[in-house]
């Protein structure tokens, strides 16, 4: 029987560690925003990973960046190819180092914030941009080209507040039909949450506020 769950409940790094320590031969499938990734284990070693368009260690490191997504572990399935030869301990360590380094201005601070935000039902993706649109941290590899337009939206929102003699708004909600974004200004940066379309703002905003107060 396959083990299924969501990365909101168990970190991918823990899932990998579990399979390696149990000396499993298995296929781990992760589905995130309609995109699939795979990690294969053979006798407790990570031997292959795929996450379009990446393959091997690159794919493994990209998958480690995911904080949410449905997963399934199927025992006894062997890898179609061997693209990873690094010992799982080193592989995981390198992946976690990269996670800390990659665009995370204040070390693991954002990681903990993202974890808290991901416990909120309806949150699909999170990223933080600075006022010039640079991505400081992200929960997923792909965020398209929206960060510049969102930095502008955050800046103009602040100016709307100034126009009516108020500070920057606490929250800005953007409904784009196929997507629903919530912008939260944090000093010079903007936290962007991509939430499910039908998310009720009156329910989710207090939870975001609580997660931010930490």
């Amino acid at each position: 029987m396959a083990l299924v769950g969501n990365l909101k409940d168990i970190k991918l790094a823990n899932l990998v560690q579990l399979n390696c320590m149990e000396h499993n031969t298995a296929k781990l499938t992760i589905e995130h925003n309609g995109k699939y990734g795979f990690i294969y284990f053979e006798k407790g070693q990570v031997v292959h990973a795929e996450y379009d368009p990446f393959i091997g260690e690159d794919a493994f490191y990209r998958l480690l960046q995911l904080f949410a997504g449905n997963f399934k572990v199927e025992s006894g399935i062997r890898a179609p190819a061997k693209t990873i030869s690094t010992n799982w301990n080193n592989l995981l360590l390198e992946g976690l180092h990269r996670l800390d380094d990659e665009g995370q201005g204040s070390g693991s601070g954002y990681t903990r914030l993202f974890e808290r935000l991901y416990t909120i039902k309806g949150v699909k993706r999170i990223f933080i941009i600075d006022n010039e649109g640079r991505i400081l941290a992200k929960s997923t590899a792909e965020i398209n080209d929206m960060h510049i337009a969102l930095a502008l939206a955050s800046h103009e929102s602040q100016k709307i507040g100034e126009t009516i003699r108020l500070k920057a708004p606490q929250f800005v909600s953007m409904n784009m039909g196929n997507a629903h974004l919530i912008l939260v200004r944090q000093n010079e940066n903007t936290l962007v949450l991509d939430v499910e379309k039908k998310t009720r703002l009156d329910l989710i905003l207090p939870l975001i506020k609580k997660a931010l107060s930490g």
Partner: protein, 145 residues
Amino acid sequence: MPERILKEIRNIDTVELVAICSFKGEIGFKSGNMIPDDEIRQIAIYLLRIYAAQKLTGNKLLSMEFYWNNHFLTARFADGFLIITVCSSSEVLALLRITLNVTVANLSENKPFLKWLKKHKQDASKHLRRGAFDDLEIGLISRLG
């Protein structure tokens, strides 16, 4: 008729202002005086810049909501115009969203309104090319699309 439609929105509890602006940024119809006209026009221009920037990245912005402690501003974008409302309670936002959707549908069939809209037709992207910009806006707009 647009005035009657605006009154319906104004009748929602705590709604203090409702304004219909063209994509030129001009106020066509308004009910409520809590924000002077020149400030409404300025807000409309900021909103249209956001709308145009999203359009450039392939997204169609339908609505925005801004949350302060005791003030809430909503913007409902439609074909060639936007409706700005300001209220002081978050409890009416759900009703306001539904009412604004109905309003957009009604306005789209309202001849006097459509006549006014035709006179004030403009592509929202002009607000990314013309107007007063600060350095940050200039930098961000230059990197769009």
